[in-house]
């Protein structure tokens, strides 16, 4: 009988302990998570070294095509969105390893300056595309590639199903930048997201700025 009493006390102590541990975790997520996650993302970025082979792409201005394409997995540009205070590296390719480093560029889309669809993806963590839904119509997005700088202006956004490929048109009639991340963008909720938040931006200006 004494053993049963001890077991019950142990079980109640365990339940109380889990309760306080859960309170601690909830406090972390609601009070500290936003402050800590950018540092975690930074650690992930610096700890995971991919094939960071930076190939200088060559661009034919008249043909509006690249002559030498960046190799898969290489960083070839920087994405800047001043309205949400975001600057991220852009890599050719969008596998899991690349998406931990920054923005992934889908290989089946065109490059900046090629007058076609450009498809960029990033996780919705703080420090990546967490504030993608805060970009407003008219905001300027700049891609500083190794072969030139290109500016785009946000036109619209959509929330689409991940299987709706018509929301990601790959075309060669105009330069259209599409950036997407999983939706909804919420804090630390695990599980597969079936929707994507997509920002559409069109190229502005014809001149390519070179540094």
């Amino acid at each position: 009988m004494i053993k049963n009493v001890n077991k019950k006390k142990f079980a109640s102590n365990l339940a109380i302990s889990f309760f306080f541990a859960a309170i601690f975790v909830l406090c972390y997520y609601f009070l500290l998570e936003d402050k800590i996650m950018p540092y975690v993302s930074l650690i992930n970025t610096t700890a995971v070294r991919g094939e960071d082979i930076e190939i200088i792409a060559k661009y034919n201005i008249e043909a509006k095509r690249l002559i030498d394409y960046p190799s898969y997995g290489s960083k070839y540009a920087t994405l800047e969105i001043p309205s949400i205070n975001l600057t991220l590296p852009v890599y050719h390719g969008d596998n899991k390893k690349i998406l931990r480093l920054g923005v992934g560029h889908y290989t089946g889309s065109y490059f900046p300056g090629e007058n076609g669809s450009i498809l960029y993806a990033a996780h919705n963590n703080a420090g990546l595309f967490h504030d993608l839904d805060k970009i407003k119509v008219g905001d300027i997005i700049t891609i500083k590639a190794t072969y030139g700088t290109f500016k785009y202006q946000m036109k619209e956004y959509k929330i689409v199903k991940e299987t709706d490929l018509s929301a990601f048109p790959i075309q060669h009639d105009k330069e259209l930048l599409m950036m997407y991340t999983c939706w909804p963008i919420d804090k630390g909720i695990a599980g597969h997201k079936k929707e994507r938040y997509v920002v559409y931006a069109e190229k502005i200006g014809d001149e390519i700025e070179k540094e």
């Binding site: 006390k9 142990f10 102590n13 365990l14 109380i16 302990s17 889990f18 306080f20 541990a21 859960a22 601690f24 975790v25 975690v40 992930n44 394409y69 190799s71 898969y72 997995g73 390719g93 969008d94 596998n95 998406l99 931990r100 992934g104 889908y106 290989t107 089946g108 889309s109 065109y110 076609g116 498809l119 993806a121 990033a122 996780h123 919705n124 963590n125 595309f129 991940e162 299987t163 490929l165 990601f168 048109p169 790959i170 075309q171 997407y180 991340t181 999983c182 919420d186 804090k187 630390g188 909720i189 695990a190 599980g191 597969h192 997201k193 994507r196």
Partner: protein, 174 residues
């Protein structure tokens, strides 16, 4: 119009049978971007796959000799795919996947076209050794929680058990 699977894409790329350089770019694209009939259904490359194929052809050259060798292998692959009645590579039995993988490896070993089948998809290498990855447009870009969840779960467990043991110890000593 159905979209081609990865294997069919590779088949389409290699069903040239002639020296690439002998064709104009328009003729070449016409051959690659045509509609293929497999299992009584029509298939064609998607727009993003066409971008990948265009880019590959801009960087690489396929000789007549290699094309002849590839064509023989492609016939084998086509027969295997037709036997399945569809082009959904992911749903093929493992034995069929292995068979197709072996054909791809034969092409790689006997020609300058280097390709392998990996978990991520069909991986083709350019002549300079860099990769050409062929996969799907939309990726999983949710909150990276897998590691966080495991660590958080373990932390909760450790804190809970530790606290419990401390409480027990304190009570025992009273």
């Amino acid at each position: 119009m159905k979209k081609l699977s990865l294997i069919a894409l590779f088949v389409g790329l290699l069903v040239l049978g002639t020296n690439v350089k002998a064709m104009t770019e328009a003729e070449l694209k016409g051959k690659l971007f045509q509609t293929f009939e497999i299992g009584g259904k029509d298939y064609t490359l998607s727009d993003d796959q066409k971008v990948i194929v265009e880019r590959y052809l801009e960087k690489n050259e396929i000789s007549e000799a290699d094309a002849d060798t590839i064509w023989a292998k492609v016939q084998k692959a086509l027969n295997v795919i037709k036997g399945q009645g569809n082009t959904n590579f992911t749903k093929y039995p493992q034995s069929v996947k292995n068979e197709l993988k072996a054909i791809v490896e034969e092409i790689s070993s006997e020609t300058k076209v280097k390709a392998t089948l990996t978990k991520e998809g069909l991986e083709v290498k350019n002549s300079d050794g860099t990769k050409v990855i062929i996969d799907t447009p939309v990726k999983r870009t949710g909150y990276e929680t897998s590691k966080t969840a495991i660590i958080a779960g373990l932390s909760i467990l450790i804190v809970a058990v530790g606290t419990c043991l401390v409480i027990k110890q304190v009570k025992t000593s009273e």
